[in-house]
């Protein structure tokens, strides 16, 4: 009897969970404050975003940020109605699931640096027929390398996957891998620790979105003031940083952001933003139609988008109204 009781318990529990989920889904999602799902933990790299949020709060927008393990999970939270705004580039999600979700602000452009061990490789051509390590299957780094291979006319023996720039950098230092692609802080780390041992390969004209803000069309349409304030403040902060990266440290002090940041990381703030701004990682106009077109091309190569990139429609992925309004107000650059 116990056996039977137990065997019936699981399915019943399963049904209850599913029902609860169904009910949770139908609960109204417009309750204040604005729930933002961030796909990473707060760090030096997210200071600019945190500053913009603080400034929006000053304009009486209530904001509740949740940090998720990954962008995919943050996206699930938005799709499931558990968060209003997500951070990431959910092109595949939008195309395949046809969720009523649109991106509305480009936070950053992809800035990654192919780096090789000079003992084995001196340039792009040397990588022909060699193994190369990227973040994961279907990731932006894989797309970058596929794009570069096409441009340079080489083919990799295979791409292998090691998630996390810091993990790949560590593997480079240990000599476990010979060629990979990392973000700016880890590129600096490698060049600093390895000296001549490592070399960054030249790469230009890869400008796709790394992170963007997205929300359900329902939210965007029913909370225009909130969205407008958010976009205006983002644009303002981004422009300030591009003008003067010191802006970040000043604002951080003002709002007491990342108060528990270890002291040894503090000196990294200014170089990171100086460099990112210089390399164009922070778009001054929040994306816009041209950026979206670039994204289409890039993410089609990445395998995130299906079909011919030229036939994709901007309005199926982006909601550009608030950005237009903000640019009209703050001026176009």
């Amino acid at each position: 009897m116990f056996e039977k009781a137990r065997s019936i318990f699981l399915p019943v529990a399963g049904v209850l969970v599913l029902l609860a989920a169904t009910i949770g889904q139908s609960a109204p999602a417009q309750a204040k404050p604005v729930r933002i799902a961030f796909g990473d933990i707060a760090s030096v790299e997210s200071l600019n975003f945190l500053i913009a949020l603080e400034r929006a709060k000053e304009r009486s927008v209530e904001i509740d940020v949740t940090f998720f393990k990954s962008e995919d999970i943050a996206a699930q939270a938005v799709v499931g109605g558990h968060a209003d705004i997500g951070v990431g580039t959910p092109y595949a999600l939008l195309q395949k699931v046809k969720a009523p979700i649109r991106m509305f602000f480009q936070l950053s452009a992809l800035r990654f640096y192919p780096i090789v061990n000079t003992e084995y490789y001196k340039g792009w051509k040397d990588l022909d027929g060699e193994e190369f390590v990227v973040h994961s299957r279907g990731s932006g780094t894989e797309a970058i390398m596929n794009l570069m291979a096409k441009r340079e006319g080489i083919t990799f023996k295979r791409l292998s996957y090691v998630p996390g720039s810091e993990v790949r950098a560590g593997a480079m230092l240990q000599g476990n891998i010979r060629a990979t692609i990392v973000d700016a802080p880890n590129r600096n780390l490698l060049l600093e620790k390895g000296g001549d041992k490592f070399m960054v390969l030249p790469m230009e004209g890869v400008d796709a979105s790394d992170e963007a803000l997205y929300a359900s069309t329902d939210f965007l349409e029913s909370n225009p003031e909130t969205v407008d304030i958010l976009v205006e403040e983002l644009l303002t902060v981004w422009r300030e940083i591009n003008k003067d990266p010191d802006y970040v440290t000043a604002q951080r002090k003002k709002y007491g952001l990342l108060a528990d940041l270890p002291a040894e990381l503090e000196p990294e703030i200014i170089p990171y933003f100086t460099e990112s701004a210089k390399s164009g990682a922070f778009p001054v106009n929040g994306g816009g139609p041209e950026a979206v077109k670039t994204d289409f091309e890039f993410y089609a190569i990445a395998g995130q988008l299906q079909g011919n990139p030229t036939s994709l429609k901007i309005e199926d992925f982006w909601y550009l109204g608030p950005l237009d309004k903000a640019q009209n107000k703050l001026g176009r650059m």
Binding site: P11, G14, Q25, D72, V79, S136, R137, G138, V162
Partner: protein
């Protein structure tokens, strides 16, 4: 002497209808999958596929070979890790059960490991063992070994004192007591530990494939999630859950067949 009053007890007849357990099990499957299909059709989330779509994806992935390739790669660390955990785990557990000294030195390690939230240790593994096969094997071992070791240890320590005394009374040597009484008597618990260990090993390998480097099933899950192929993602999850369940229950059958013949009937 006669046996007139003694009828054997506890024997089932040669012909049995479909046992009620099997009916209940079938019903529970129908109910769960039905609820899944229903939830997918509501849908509870645009990213939640129906049971049918998931099965179709599973079929498709099996046909195009991606499932097979994934298992080929997932099974490597799993099998190596389980083999190591099984062999050394049972040996260490039995040794602990037999020797107080060994118990004193070794038991705390595994008790701590069993209590630890092992997922939190996985990043630590990558620091020490890198990101290759070794790290994944270690992840499997860390999850699988404690329960195997501790079960074997408890099984041996709790072996029937009455049977051990019986063996001694008939002049059984220490080796005979161990081989003919302690180990057979402990075998059900040891095997229960092995089954739990294998189940934990599956957790270990999937965690490793999700947290260290995406290969095999972990890769199918992360990749399909990243490109929003949710039916494929759920198919990969479903397949590893089903695979683990089937493996563990087959082990149970094998154990009864090989080691405890008296449990086959009745």
């Amino acid at each position: 002497m006669t046996t007139r009053d003694f009828e054997p007890v506890g024997r089932g007849g040669p012909f049995r209808p479909l046992s009620s357990t099997a009916v209940w099990r079938l019903a529970s499957f129908v109910l769960v999958f039905g609820a899944w299909e229903f939830a997918g059709r509501v849908p509870i989330s645009p990213a939640f596929p129906t049971f049918g779509a998931t099965m179709a994806a599973l079929f498709q992935m099996t046909l195009d070979g991606s499932m097979g390739r994934a298992y080929l790669s997932t099974l490597q660390p799993l099998l190596i890790g389980l083999l190591i955990s099984g062999v050394f785990g049972i040996l260490a557990g039995v040794a602990m059960g037999l020797s107080r000294l060994f118990e004193f030195f070794v038991a705390p390690v595994f008790i701590v490991l069993q209590a630890a939230p092992v997922a939190a240790l996985i990043p630590l593994i990558t620091f020490i063992y890198g990101i290759g096969l070794t790290a994944k094997v270690i992840a499997v071992c860390i999850l699988a070994a404690p329960v195997i070791v501790l079960n074997s240890y408890k099984a041996v320590r709790n072996a029937s004192p009455s049977l051990i005394e019986m063996c001694r009374a008939f002049q059984g040597s220490r080796v005979q007591v161990i081989a003919k009484i302690i180990l057979p008597d402990a075998s059900p618990l040891i095997f229960a530990g092995l089954r739990l260990g294998i189940a934990a090993g599956f957790i270990g390998v999937v965690l490793a494939e999700l947290l260290i480097t995406p290969t095999g099933i972990g890769d199918l899950i992360t990749y399909h999630r990243s490109v929003a192929d949710y039916a494929e993602m759920y198919a990969a999850i479903f397949s590893i859950v089903a695979f683990a369940a089937i493996t563990v229950s087959s082990l149970q059958k094998l154990e009864t067949m090989v080691f405890r013949p008296e449990k086959k009937e009745g």
